[in-house]
């Protein structure tokens, strides 16, 4: 078994265990797409303006929804969020998605 295989198994196991929410994308045409995410809705930072800015985000495996991109609106726990950025991590094994309340 290659290192990449081990890494993929580890990532799969982590996400299977830690997934705590379902994100749903509803396209203009076609059926909604739902996928599991590790969601952190309560993150926040103090930005350059001295503002406490919310930083909702989740982690996911890219294969769960390969079409995910900036600007899409996802429903998570009955709240709509706009995707602000998709940052691949760990050689693409998972990705961090930063959100904004729509």
């Amino acid at each position: 078994m290659s290192f990449a295989d081990v890494e993929a198994r580890a990532n799969a196991s982590v996400f299977k265990t830690l997934t705590n929410a379902t994100a749903t994308y509803t396209p203009a045409v076609g059926d909604p797409v739902s996928f599991g995410v590790v969601f952190d809705p309560a993150g926040a930072i103090i930005d350059d303006f001295g503002t406490v800015a919310q930083q909702p985000r989740f982690a996911m495996q890219p294969a769960a929804f390969t079409a995910l991109e900036e600007g899409m609106v996802l429903a998570i726990r009955s709240v709509d969020y706009q995707v602000r950025s998709v940052v691949p991590l760990d050689e693409g094994g998972w990705q961090r998605v930063t959100l904004a309340r729509a």
Partner: protein
């Protein structure tokens, strides 16, 4: 009592607080801690510096030129420029409405955005100068 400069800052605050978009959410150095997003849009008004020129030989009365920063902060997931521009337009119209106290004069406008957090917060800062007179031995008395 407060320094004459703070009284001039209060005059700016009063004019901004009379606007509709931010309403009473006008903060000064009395509230230096972070502003929650839930309190946006808001203004933060700060005195920057205050060069002083002597008016008369052998007298303590001086002309003060106070620079004041007015930073309007907004949250907008979409349409940041429009939201920021509306806040600034309303604020400047109110601050510089005639009769203008203390010779308020616009001196600079700065535009800022952040990519931190939700990347949904932006700011516009207009800086103005105000002129007033005060006696150096009575710095809490605003003469003009």
């Amino acid at each position: 009592m407060t320094l004459a400069a703070d009284q001039v800052v209060d005059a700016v605050v009063a004019r901004l607080a009379a606007t509709a978009i931010a309403g009473a959410r006008v903060f000064t150095d009395d509230r230096p801690w972070p502003i929650p997003e839930s309190q946006l849009p808001a203004w933060r008004v700060t005195a920057l510096n205050e060069p002083v020129d002597s008016l008369y030989v052998d007298q303590g009365v001086s002309e003060h030129t106070l620079s004041i920063s007015c930073r309007g902060i907004v949250r907008a997931v979409d349409g940041m420029r429009a939201a920021r521009g509306a806040l600034a337009a309303e604020g400047m119209a109110s601050v510089f409405a005639v009769p203008v106290p203390h010779q308020f004069q616009l001196s600079e406008i700065d535009y800022q955005i952040t990519s931190e957090g939700e990347a949904a917060v932006g700011a516009i800062t207009f800086t103005l100068t105000a002129k007033f007179a005060a006696d150096q031995a009575a710095p809490e008395t605003l003469l003009v």
